[in-house]
C-alpha cells in the first residue's frame, strides 16, 4: 500500500510518456470545477488525462490549428484515445470542436463524447449526427466514466447491464432509439445474457444508424482481436438510413448485409448502441450501475 502511495505521489502530469495500454483522454471544459472533477473521475478509472479549458486550446494541443503543418511524428507521438468535451463553452463550443475533430485527417477516428448540463434532445441529436460517440448529461458521475471506459476500451465490451426501466421521458427519443435498436436485433454473440429491454415507446421507424458520413470508429489500442466483428455502425445518426433498417445496426457477425468488416462507412468494433450508454443511466436514484 505504501508503495502504491509513493508511486502515485511521484506520478507526473499526463504529458509524459505512457504505456501503450493506458487510455489517454483529452478533457475540455471551461469550468475549473468541472475540469477538476472530470480529471479525478478519469484518473480514478486509470486513464491519463490532459485537461484544457477551451476548444481552441484543444485544437492547439492536437495541432488542429495548423494541421497542414503538423508532422507525422507529432501526430504519432500524440496518443489521444478519447476526447470528452463540454458543450457550452465560450468561443468554440463543444459542437464546433467536434466538427473540427471529425473534419481532421489525423483525429477523426478518435471518439468524442459531449457533456452538457442541458438535456436537450435536439442538441444531443445534432452532436450524434456530427459523429459524437456519446452524450453525457452533467453532473458527470463515476458510473458514467466507468461505463464509457468499459465499453470503449475495457474487457467488458459487449455487456449490457440490466436495462434501465425507469428512463425519464425527457431523455426521450435518444434513449428510445438506442433501446429500439438493441431490441430490434437478435442478441449479439458477445453479449452476456441480458434481461429484455423495456421500451417506453412503441418501436420507431427506421432509426437505425447507418453509416454516417463522418466515420466514428474508435481505435482503442488494446482492442483484442478476438472481439467478434460485432461491429455496428455508429448508432448515432437519426437521419434516414442509407440502407435497410433491419440490418444496419445488427451487432451480429457478418451475416447482416452491412458487413462490419467492410469498408467505411464504418462500423466500429463496438458501439454504444449495443451497450448501455452513460446517458441511459438513472438520474433519480443513486445506485451504482458500474
Amino acid at each position: 500500500m505504501s508503495a502504491m502511495f509513493s508511486r502515485r505521489w511521484r506520478s507526473q502530469p499526463e504529458t509524459t510518456t505512457t504505456t501503450t495500454t493506458d487510455v489517454h483522454v483529452l478533457a475540455v471544459d471551461d469550468s475549473l470545477v468541472d475540469r477538476k472533477v472530470i480529471e479525478r473521475l478519469l484518473k480514478i478509472t486509470s486513464c491519463k488525462v490532459t485537461a484544457v479549458e477551451s476548444g481552441w486550446r484543444a485544437c492547439q494541443y492536437l495541432g488542429l490549428d495548423q494541421e497542414d503543418k503538423t508532422s507525422p511524428e507529432f501526430v504519432n507521438g500524440l496518443k489521444v484515445d478519447l476526447i470528452i468535451t463540454d458543450y457550452c463553452m465560450p468561443g468554440m463550443t463543444g459542437y464546433e470542436l467536434l466538427k473540427k475533430i471529425k473534419g481532421s485527417a489525423n483525429f477523426r477516428e478518435v471518439p468524442v463524447v459531449i457533456m452538457s448540463s442541458e438535456n436537450v434532445v435536439a442538441r444531443i441529436d445534432r452532436c450524434l449526427e456530427e459523429g459524437a460517440e456519446d452524450f453525457i448529461v452533467k453532473p458527470v458521475k463515476l458510473s458514467d466514466v466507468k461505463r464509457l471506459k468499459d465499453y470503449m476500451f475495457g474487457e467488458t465490451r459487449g455487456t449490457i447491464p440490466s436495462a434501465d426501466k425507469n428512463n425519464k421521458e425527457e431523455k426521450g427519443s435518444f434513449n428510445k432509439r438506442k433501446l429500439q435498436e438493441m431490441s430490434d436485433n437478435s442478441p449479439p454473440l458477445s453479449l452476456s445474457s441480458s434481461p429484455p429491454l423495456s421500451l417506453s415507446s412503441s418501436p420507431s421507424t427506421s432509426q437505425s444508424p447507418p453509416t454516417s458520413s463522418p466515420s466514428t470508429s474508435p481505435s482503442p489500442p488494446n482492442l483484442s482481436p478476438s472481439t467478434s466483428p460485432s461491429t455496428v455502425s455508429p448508432s448515432n445518426s437519426p437521419s434516414p438510413p442509407t440502407e435497410s433498417p433491419t440490418t444496419s445496426s445488427s451487432p451480429q457477425s457478418p451475416s447482416s448485409s452491412e458487413s462490419p468488416s467492410s469498408t467505411p462507412p464504418t462500423s466500429p468494433p463496438f458501439s454504444p448502441s449495443q451497450l448501455e450508454s452513460p446517458t441511459m443511466r438513472l438520474k433519480v436514484t443513486n445506485y451504482d450501475q458500474a
Partner: protein, 188 residues
C-alpha cells in the same frame, strides 16, 4: 456575506481547545473512542441535515467517493475552487443588476449558467435551483424577481459555504486526531 476570503482555519477558541486536546492525547497516547465517534457522528449528522434540507444532493457524495489516500483532500480542493469561482460570479451578477438603465441579459444568463453548472457539479442543489429560478426571471425580463432572486441566491450561497466550512472543520479534527494516534499519516 462574509469577506469572501476562504479560510479553513479554526476559530481561535476552537484552536486552543483543540491544542489542549492534542496535548492530552499525546500524553495519553490514545484518542478516546467516544471522541472519535462523536466526530464521526457530528459529520454524519451535519451531512444528513444538509441532505434533508436539500442543500446538498448525491453529487456531493460522488465527490466524497472520489477522495481516497491518493487524493485525500479532493473534496475540499474542489469546494475551494467552487467558492472562489462562485464568488466571482455572484459579484458579476450583482454588478450587472446594479446598472439602473439597461441590464445585460445575455451576460446575466452566461454567469448564471456557469454558476448553475458548477453548483450542480459539486452537488449544491439549492444554489443550483435558485440559479434556475433566477434565470427564468431574467428570461421573462422580470426585474423585481431578478433582484429577489439575487438576494436569495446570496443568502443560500452563504449558508452553503458556512455549512461546508463546518463540515471541513469536523473532518480536520478527525484527521488531526488520527495523526496524533498514528504519527506519520498526517495528510498535507
Amino acid at each position: 456575506m462574509d469577506n469572501g476570503v476562504f479560510s479553513l482555519g479554526l476559530k481561535l477558541e476552537d484552536e486552543s481547545k483543540w491544542l489542549k486536546n492534542i496535548i492530552v492525547y499525546a500524553v495519553e497516547g490514545e484518542i478516546p473512542l467516544r471522541h472519535k465517534v462523536r466526530l464521526r457522528t457530528d459529520m454524519n449528522r451535519l451531512l444528513s441535515l444538509l441532505f434533508h434540507q436539500g442543500v446538498l444532493d448525491e453529487q456531493f457524495l460522488q465527490l466524497q467517493q472520489l477522495q481516497d489516500e491518493t487524493s485525500p483532500n479532493f473534496v475540499s480542493e474542489v469546494v475551494t475552487i467552487y467558492f472562489h469561482e462562485s464568488e466571482k460570479q455572484l459579484r458579476n451578477l450583482r454588478n450587472l443588476l446594479l446598472d439602473r438603465e439597461m441590464w445585460d441579459y445575455v451576460k446575466l444568463i452566461i454567469h448564471l449558467n456557469q454558476l448553475m453548472g458548477s453548483s450542480s457539479s459539486i452537488g449544491a442543489k439549492r444554489v443550483r435551483n435558485i440559479c434556475a429560478a433566477f434565470r427564468g426571471a431574467v428570461e421573462q425580463n422580470n426585474r423585481s424577481a431578478c433582484m429577489r432572486a439575487l438576494e436569495v441566491l446570496e443568502h443560500e450561497y452563504c449558508y452553503l459555504k458556512n455549512k461546508l466550512h463546518e463540515l471541513f472543520q469536523i473532518e480536520q479534527q478527525r484527521v488531526l486526531g488520527d495523526a496524533v494516534r498514528y504519527p506519520g499519516v498526517l495528510h498535507p
